[in-house]
């Protein structure tokens, strides 16, 4: 059983597409160990604060590997609220 300790702010690489309207669509998140996570759907995008880890910007609610998670665009960088497990590797 994995125990959640806390969350931390982790900046990540993101591959995006910018359409003709200037709207940015995140396509893939690249984790610090080189793994690629494809974003299958963006469910919502709004200005929001990352209350758990501190920071604010455009918050994308994205579907990654069938799980919903938040991806923040803190112009010009992207970050996630990384879950730090007590006995496991990094997880989005």
């Amino acid at each position: 059983m994995k125990g959640t300790n806390h969350r931390q702010k982790s900046y990540v690489e993101v591959i995006t597409r910018t359409d003709c309207e200037g709207i940015v669509h995140p396509l893939e998140v690249i984790w610090d160990d080189g793994r690629h996570f494809e974003i299958s759907r963006v469910l919502e995008c709004r200005q929001a604060a990352a209350l758990k880890v501190g920071g604010r910007g455009l918050r994308y609610l994205v579907d990654v590997c069938g799980k919903e998670t938040y991806l923040f665009f803190e112009d010009p960088r992207w970050f996630v609220e990384e879950i730090i497990y007590s006995n496991a590797a990094h997880t989005l």
Binding site: C45, R46, Q47, A48, A49, K52, G54, R56
Partner: protein, 461 residues
């Protein structure tokens, strides 16, 4: 676009979609004079600097935190404190060492003004969603006149409360900051309302409840009643805001002069001053500029001519550059001098011709210092300031002087604009005068970039 909620405030959405509720929110007081039908909000970001730091660093949220100046540069005072630090009796403005004595586990964070400016800007972007009449009062406070958009929120005075609730919710969810909001029909009561319930409160002051809420409060709670006025009023037996409202006009005028009459207007809720429409991009600086100045407490006490000259020139560089940016010329230069024993004074001087030239402004300021001070190494100075006032547009026609070579001045003006262009591209330190390099600690300071604009008075013209 991605799906986005139409209403930020779910409760409001429910109320507005109910026809009965919509009907109920129509104008409450049709008989009120038109200025009393205005809806003005005053929004105050609670413990702004401290809250911004605690939000950015979650590990600080359960600790007593103060935001202070740079102690090494002798700016070590408390600029803001969070609610926990407030509980230890720490006061804004006291020295950091005093604060640490009151609260041994105190966390002191260096102020990051640019970060606060970004948050204030994001907060104002939220306010601009409700009205174009947004008037900042310092970095963390704003008045918003939402009279024109009230109909979109059900109309009438209750619309003000709905908008206040929505702004409060959005500040929390989008910025992570709590705000307190005052809603009323005039700016003074709206400000009173935002101070009434802190943190994270909404206070609606209406023509029905203002006598209970405002009039019962001590006179010192009213805008523009500070400690000195409170003392004068107490001498006349005036203790509450209600007393101010009910006092005889003759007594108020006799005690306080013109201000007395104004305070009575404030206390009676008759203040009809408008929420100004500001240029959203300029924000803090869109007022008519009356003077441009910079002052600095030096990292070490200044002794001797070279030290003083270096700081005067550094300050003048910033003042002159800001004059040129605003396309203004100054006719009067004021120097502010503060000794190491904290004794301070101002002296001013007229320029021969209106100018934005660094050389002329610095020379005038340095002349003032030389005329009033003995610059031998015995006297030491803690801070100096240079201010340019009596401003005119740089395009205004001016009388030239027979004894000043005008072509040379024009060449200097062109040179200054070229230097400004270099500084814009490569930073303010790219071109400097030799005398400014006297002290390396001082010459590293970028006074213009560090310049901050402080709250402008309520009574500005």
């Amino acid at each position: 676009m991605y799906p986005r909620p139409l209403f930020q405030n779910k409760a409001l959405q429910d109320q507005l979609t109910e026809p009965a509720a919509q009907h109920e929110c129509k104008v409450n007081h049709p008989a009120l004079p038109s200025f009393q039908q205005r809806i003005i909000l005053h929004v105050d970001l609670n413990c702004f600097y401290a809250q911004a730091e605690c939000f950015r660093r979650p590990e600080l949220r359960d600790k007593p935190v103060v935001v202070g100046g740079d102690e090494e540069a002798r700016h070590g005072i408390v600029l803001a404190k969070n609610m926990i630090a407030k509980g230890f009796g720490i006061k804004t403005g006291e020295a950091l060492w005093q604060a640490r004595q009151k609260c041994p586990g105190l966390v002191s964070v260096r102020a990051d003004y640019r970060h606060y400016q970004r948050i204030a800007q994001a907060a104002r972007a939220i306010y601009y969603d409700y009205s174009d009449r947004v008037e900042p009062f310092g970095l963390d406070e704003c008045w918003i006149d939402v009279t024109g958009s009230a109909e979109l929120f059900g109309g009438g005075q209750r619309a003000g409360r709905f908008i206040a609730e929505e702004i409060s919710e959005r500040s929390k969810s989008e910025l992570g900051m709590s705000v307190s909001v005052g809603v009323s029909w005039n700016k003074v009561f709206a400000k009173f309302g935002s101070d009434y319930k802190k943190p994270d409160g909404i206070t609606h002051i209406t023509p029905d409840n203002y006598q209970d809420l405002v009039w019962a409060a001590p006179a010192s709670e009213l805008l523009y009643i500070g400690p000195a006025t409170t003392r004068k009023l107490a001498d006349a037996g005036i203790f509450s805001i209600g007393d101010v409202a009910g006092a005889s006009a003759k007594l108020m005028r006799g005690k306080l002069g013109k201000i007395g009459a104004m305070l009575q207007v404030f206390a009676r809720g008759e203040d009809a001053s408008l929420v100004r429409v500001m240029d959203q991009d300029k924000r803090d600086v869109s007022y008519g500029i009356k003077s441009i100045g910079n002052s600095m407490t030096a990292p070490h006490d200044l002794r001797g001519e070279a030290d003083v000259k270096a700081l005067v020139y550094l300050l003048s560089e910033s003042v002159a550059q800001r004059l040129r940016e605003s396309r203004l010329k100054a006719q009067t230069i004021t120097a502010y001098i503060r000794h190491a024993d904290l004794h301070s004074y101002h002296r001013q001087k007229q320029l021969l011709l209106p100018s934005f030239l660094t050389g002329e402004i610095a020379a005038a300021a340095y002349d003032i210092v030389c005329e009033n001070e003995d610059l031998s190494r015995e006297t030491s100075f803690r801070s100096l300031g240079v201010r340019a006032s009596n401003l005119i547009s740089m395009w205004d026609p001016t009388q030239t002087n027979l004894f000043v070579a005008e072509p040379a001045r024009i060449a200097y003006e062109d040179l200054e604009f070229s230097i400004d262009d270099l500084r814009r591209r490569y930073g303010n330190k790219v071109v400097m005068r030799g005398c400014e390099l006297h002290s390396s600690r001082m010459s590293r300071k970028d006074i213009k970039a560090d310049n901050t604009i402080h709250p402008v008075g309520f009574l500005r013209s």
